[in-house]
């Protein structure tokens, strides 16, 4: 969560004009770190980690599924925090960050759902199982779609950002409530036989790939978010002279 405080702390002096080139220099480094970490994570996950005594080789799906699920929650939290900062301090940069988060978060949620289903088929014999965590992930996906749909249907970028920020805040308050309700609902309708999402045994050789992939995904999120933010800054600041010079100087 420390990234959020850094981002919010930045709002005092980082204006779009100073942020744009800064992001430009950061992106290659972040991309490089992402690639390295992904390579390390894949190596640890595919070659070093032993097959699980119960799940066999399918445990390797966990090295994608679990980090993706973590990221889907983390990115929503960043989106809500950026939205709150935009609403309270009226900072345009935070609006851009929040709008960059939504599609990335939704992609991670979708990835978590796909890999969850791919993990469920061999283990439980069905492509979709109403497991508590998968169901919460599905509802989280709908929350993301709601935020993106709301933003897409408002023409004025400022109103779109503020409306999406309010929805994200209402959503982030509801996520624990939804998670709690789905857990309760799952235990209520849970015939004992259906195994819950197997909690990965926290054996070091399993934990290392998980953490590496999680860190890799975080760096990836920063890279992708900065890319999207730069695009939105260009569009939203098109009336400023610095954007005009920048665009025209790139003949």
């Amino acid at each position: 969560m420390v990234e959020i405080y850094i981002l919010i702390g930045m709002h005092k002096y980082a204006s779009p004009k100073t942020f744009y080139p800064l992001a430009g220099t950061l992106i290659p480094w972040l991309a490089g770190a992402t690639v390295l970490l992904l390579a390390l994570g894949l190596y640890l996950g595919l070659f070093v980690a032993p097959p699980d005594y119960q799940q066999g080789e399918t445990v390797r799906i966990m090295f994608i599924h679990v980090p993706a699920a973590w990221m889907s929650m983390f990115v929503y939290a960043v989106m809500a925090a950026a939205g709150a900062a935009a609403l309270v301090w009226n900072v345009k940069l935070m609006e851009t960050l929040a709008s960059a988060c939504a599609p990335i978060g939704a992609s991670f949620t979708l990835l978590a759902l796909i890999t969850g289903s791919l993990w469920g088929k061999p283990m439980w014999g069905a492509w979709w199982v109403w497991d508590a965590r998968l169901t919460s992930e599905l509802i989280l996906f709908f929350l993301y779609i709601g935020v993106m749909a709301l933003r897409a249907s408002i023409d004025d970028p400022r109103r779109a950002a503020r409306a999406a920020a309010i929805l994200a805040l209402v959503g982030v308050v509801n996520i624990p409530v939804i998670h709690f309700s789905v857990e309760w609902w799952n235990t209520l309708h849970q015939p004992a036989s259906v195994g819950r999402m197997g909690k990965p045994t926290i054996h070091l050789s399993i934990l290392m790939p998980l953490l590496t992939m999680a860190v890799a995904f975080t760096f990836y999120f920063l890279t992708a978010a900065l890319l999207r933010m730069r695009n939105e800054i260009l569009e939203r600041e098109k009336h400023t002279s610095w954007v005009q010079e920048l665009v025209e100087s790139r003949r």
């Binding site: 009226n90 023409d155 004025d156 970028p157 400022r158 939203r236 600041e237 098109k238 009336h239």
Partner: protein, 204 residues
């Protein structure tokens, strides 16, 4: 009483105007002039707090209006493009609803207000049957009824016939005489009857 310092407004991300400053003292009328799309309506909506300004300050009795919030809104009456009239309710019910919202709710003055804008005959009919000009007069009745110090009016003379224009001008002069303040936009020229008018021009 009402001060605006270096105000800047945007619509979407398009800047409208910036570094706009003016002050308004009791008894004065401010006429905002400018071509379409220069931000006249946005300026008015920003003054009454519906829209958030990009930069600059708006002060009422020395305090920032945004900080005053409800206190400032208690001294403000706004008539925008929309008349704020509920079609199913009768003119009297509309005025009672508006009065209930703004705090001043004494029924016999509602009839007086309807009388001044000569809408008494329509007292019992649903407001949706009124013409655009009559609805505008009902909005004027709301102004007269609520007696708020600051009037912010967006094209108050639009869709008014000659008789109604004089009605509106009389209401304005009466309000200014009582030490009230008015900020308005209008294409028709009417200042001839009102002496202390200051202008603010928004250029393209």
């Amino acid at each position: 009483m009402l001060e605006v310092v270096n105000l800047a407004c945007v619509r979407g991300d398009r800047p409208l105007f910036s570094d706009l400053s003016f002050a308004l003292k009791p008894g004065e009328l401010l006429h905002v002039v400018g071509a379409n799309g220069t931000g006249k309506t946005t300026l008015l909506r920003t003054l009454c707090g519906l829209t958030r300004q990009a930069a600059g300050e708006i002060r009422w009795r020395g305090a920032e209006t945004r900080a005053l919030g409800d206190e400032f809104r208690n001294e403000l009456a706004y008539v925008g493009h929309l008349n704020g009239i509920q079609g199913e309710l009768t003119p009297a019910e509309n005025l009672r609803a508006a009065a209930g919202l703004a705090g001043a709710a004494d029924p016999e003055r509602i009839d007086a207000a309807l009388e001044t804008v000569r809408l008494s005959p329509y007292r019992g009919f649903p407001a949706k049957i009124l013409s655009q000009g009559q609805k505008r007069r009902l909005a004027l009745a709301r102004l007269v009824l609520l007696r708020k110090p600051l009037w912010i009016l967006d094209e108050p003379f639009s869709a008014l016939d000659v008789a109604s224009v004089t009605l509106m001008t009389q209401a304005l002069t009466g309000h200014l005489a009582d030490g009230g303040m008015v900020v308005l936009t209008s294409h028709q020229d009417f200042e001839v009857e009102i002496k202390n008018v200051t202008y603010v021009r928004l250029d393209a």
